[in-house]
């Protein structure tokens, strides 16, 4: 079993390398080989979601949240769904993935399968109805066909949105999915985050068909905002084992807000928020009690590490994610949305900052050192956010440009950091992350001198 798990880790790493190479290859022009009767189409959005799915699968495999084979098959089905332009095949891929999700959990036989199966298959049914509607109105199954945009109607949009909300908000009705499971229910729902993230793909893919109606944007923003705010409030008061689920759902809600804005800035913000889902899962998934005892870092280091996973410091990835969402909303002059994102960020900070106390009393295990590593990755992702945006997310924005509106962009600020621009290309929000880091180092030296001087004076007086 351990050797099988090791082989699966190796497979994920090799697949990640392959997807990274593909990401570089399709950054300008999508790949449409003549294989399989022209059903294959790989563009930047496909490789981005494939990358995130593989990262999530790797994290879940390392944390032993699910058996090896279901995770492997799930990633294969989802990768197949991302790599095709035929929406019928996409729906088939999601159906297979959902069936693997239903059947492949480590569940006792006494737990009823039917309620869980129904809730997990509902998004698939909605998506299938939408795809059928699109084919009826446009006469084609392919989203990149020239007349496919004709089929983008309210009927199709609402069913895709419903599928996305039902699929990604799965933790909201986790109590139905986990009824009857007595040990480790949180393990089961944390394993389901892979499919929950995958359900954001169909909604973004709609931008390939054409621009959206204003009402569709409003509906997505409303539902995404409600999901983000409500789940973060639940996270604040939840017991420690359930807190991660609610935080992950909140992160998906923030991503939906960004993706629903329909501007370049919104897509950048939404995609960056999705990138944080594997990070938060790795950092905040508390171990099952059967983990072996290991060296635990000091409480100070642990609490530091958890704070670096919260939006409390301007150099961390969660802060940059919220800044991007707020910048995108400000660029579109939607300051009410700015307020919702701001409050969500504050509550997220409070939730994570309160974590050290229960963590110190939990069973020590591998997660102690993992949190420190993940915090380091969070800082690295935050400081190098301009490079991440330029390499992974700008190609997506360029390839989806046909469906986006010009009310906002997040651009690289040469040698400074990131800058959010409105429709008139004027800056509305600025994040000079590299400048702040360098100036902080200089001021750190000054502050150290000040504190030394203070202690010398106190010792002399006292």
């Amino acid at each position: 079993m351990r050797s099988l798990r090791f082989v699966s880790h190796l497979y994920y790493l090799l697949a990640l390398l392959a997807v990274l190479w593909l990401t570089w290859y399709v950054r300008d022009v999508p790949l449409e080989p003549a294989l399989f009767a022209g059903q294959l189409r790989v563009d930047s959005l496909s490789t981005f979601f494939a990358l995130l799915t593989l990262l999530l699968a790797l994290v879940q495999s390392v944390l032993s949240l699910r058996s090896v084979w279901p995770t492997l098959l799930l990633t294969l089905c989802l990768a197949g769904a991302y790599a095709t332009s035929n929406l019928l095949l996409v729906a088939a891929g999601y159906l297979l993935a959902t069936l693997i999700e239903v059947v492949g959990g480590r569940l006792p036989r006494s737990v009823p399968l039917a309620p869980r199966a129904i809730w997990l298959l509902l998004p698939v049914v909605c998506f299938a109805v939408a795809v059928a509607g699109l084919q009826t109105q446009a006469g084609t199954w392919h989203y990149q066909a020239s007349l496919a945009g004709v089929g983008l109607s309210s009927f199709v949009f609402w069913f895709v949105l419903l599928a996305t909300i039902l699929g990604s908000a799965v933790h909201v009705y986790a109590h139905v999915l986990t009824s009857g499971i007595t040990s480790g229910p949180h393990t089961y729902t944390l394993a389901g985050i892979c499919l929950a993230l995958a359900w954001c793909y169909p909604l973004v893919r709609l931008y390939s068909l054409g621009p959206w109606n204003a009402g569709w944007h409003a509906a997505t923003l409303l539902l995404g905002g409600a999901l983000a705010l409500w789940t973060v409030c639940r996270a604040l008061v939840a017991p420690i084992t359930m807190r991660t689920h609610w935080l992950l759902s909140s992160q998906l809600g923030v991503a939906l807000i960004g993706l629903g804005m329909g501007t370049s800035a919104g897509i950048v913000a939404g995609c960056y928020a999705l990138m944080l889902v594997p990070l938060l899962l790795a950092g905040l998934a508390f171990p099952a009690p059967s983990q072996t005892q290991a060296v635990v870092p000091s409480p100070v280091t642990l609490s530091w590490a958890l704070w670096l996973l919260s939006p409390a410091l301007p150099l961390t990835a969660p802060f940059v994610s919220f800044w991007m969402g707020i910048g995108a909303a400000a660029a579109g002059r939607m300051f009410l949305l700015v307020g919702i994102l701001w409050v969500t960020g504050l509550l997220c900070t409070l939730t994570i900052v309160q974590c050290p106390r229960p963590l110190l009393s939990a069973v020590p295990g591998r997660s102690g050192r993992t949190v420190v590593w993940v915090a380091g990755i969070s800082v690295a992702l935050g400081v190098t956010a301009p490079i991440v945006v330029w390499m992974f997310i700008r190609p997506i924005v360029q390839q989806l440009q046909g469906g986006l509106t010009p009310f906002g962009d997040i651009a690289l600020w040469p040698w400074g950091g990131l800058i959010a621009l409105n429709a008139a290309r004027q800056p509305v929000a600025t994040l000079p992350s590299l400048t702040l880091l360098l100036l902080m180092l200089v001021l750190g030296a000054l502050a150290w001198l000040l504190l030394r001087l203070q202690s010398m004076m106190d010792n002399r007086c006292g």
Partner: protein
């Protein structure tokens, strides 16, 4: 890259002299002298003789103390206050607030650590003494903090809505606001911002063995930074008469000092009324402005 390095190299007067560095530390010290909190200073004097490395020693606490000083000092250095010169890489309101409140988070986190408190276990949320209540009111203290922060965020959004931008420089220039609702929203936003500071900044920590020099300076710099930040939106009103620019700053500091010295006289009864009126006023005006925007965009 040369331009960026040049800008950073020319920033040293901002970091060391004005508005950051010595000026910021001096302003924070003056505020500390003026805003006399009702706490036992003899306790604090004994903690300040502890070494800089902290009671438990070690690198992580030193980094925490340093960061508590560096974060607010950095943002004060980058504020576009008068006579500070132009700096091309100024952050925005969100970054400014997060950096300013970092010392408070450090203090809160340090209080939450059960290891540090020696014989007593402090696994519960720290109590925050309030000049209003004159004692230890845990639930009331946190409720007032949430109310103050809620009013602060709403006021900031109101001001940002009228500017159309979250940048700090945009606060200091007048916006072309044509309608009465826009101007009313800006005035209400500035009023709400100033009032929220009165409750936000007068939350004095219990001075015990968790307070170190770094945290002490950090909390004072936080106060100074918030006051300076709240001074910025007043510039467009006083541009024609630049000799009056210091007036809003003096008024804000006087209001803070007055409320600290005479808490019973003022807002123990007035705070709920003032808070509710401002929240309602800003909320209604915001709705009106958003309605006008939607009408302009959709029709």
């Amino acid at each position: 890259m040369g331009e960026w390095l040049g800008t950073l190299g020319l920033a040293w007067p901002r970091l060391v002299l004005y508005p950051g560095g010595l000026s910021a530390l001096g302003f924070a010290w003056v505020l500390d002298c003026l805003l006399v909190y009702s706490v036992d200073r003899s306790v604090f004097a004994s903690t300040r003789t502890a070494p800089v490395d902290g009671a438990t020693g070690g690198g992580p606490w030193l980094i925490l103390d340093l960061s508590a000083v560096v974060a607010p000092l950095l943002i004060i250095s980058l504020l576009p206050v008068p006579l500070s010169g132009y700096f091309a890489y100024t952050p925005d309101l969100l970054v400014a607030l997060v950096l300013l409140d970092w010392p408070w988070l450090c203090w809160y986190g340090r209080r939450c650590m059960p290891v540090l408190s020696g014989s007593t276990s402090r696994g519960v949320a720290p109590s925050v003494s309030s000049p209003w209540k004159g004692g230890q009111g845990v639930l009331e203290g946190w409720r007032h903090l949430y109310e103050a922060y809620g009013l602060l965020v709403l006021s900031l959004l109101a001001v940002a809505q009228t500017q159309g931008s979250l940048r700090l420089e945009a606060l200091t220039v007048s916006s072309a606001s044509a309608t009465l609702a826009h101007q009313a929203l800006r005035w209400l936003g500035m009023a709400g911002w100033s009032v929220a500071l009165l409750m936000l900044l007068l939350r004095e920590a219990d001075l015990d063995q968790t307070m170190t020099s770094g945290l002490w300076w950090g909390l004072r710099l936080r106060t100074g930074g918030h006051v300076l930040l709240a001074w910025l939106p007043w510039f467009p009103l006083l541009q024609p008469r630049s000799w009056l620019l210091l007036l809003p700053l003096l008024l804000l500091v006087s209001a803070l000092a007055l409320v600290t010295w005479r808490p019973d006289m003022l807002l123990r009864h007035l705070w709920p009324i003032v808070w509710r009126s401002l929240m309602l006023g800003i909320g209604l005006t915001f709705s009106r402005v958003i309605y006008e925007l939607l009408v302009a965009r959709l029709c």
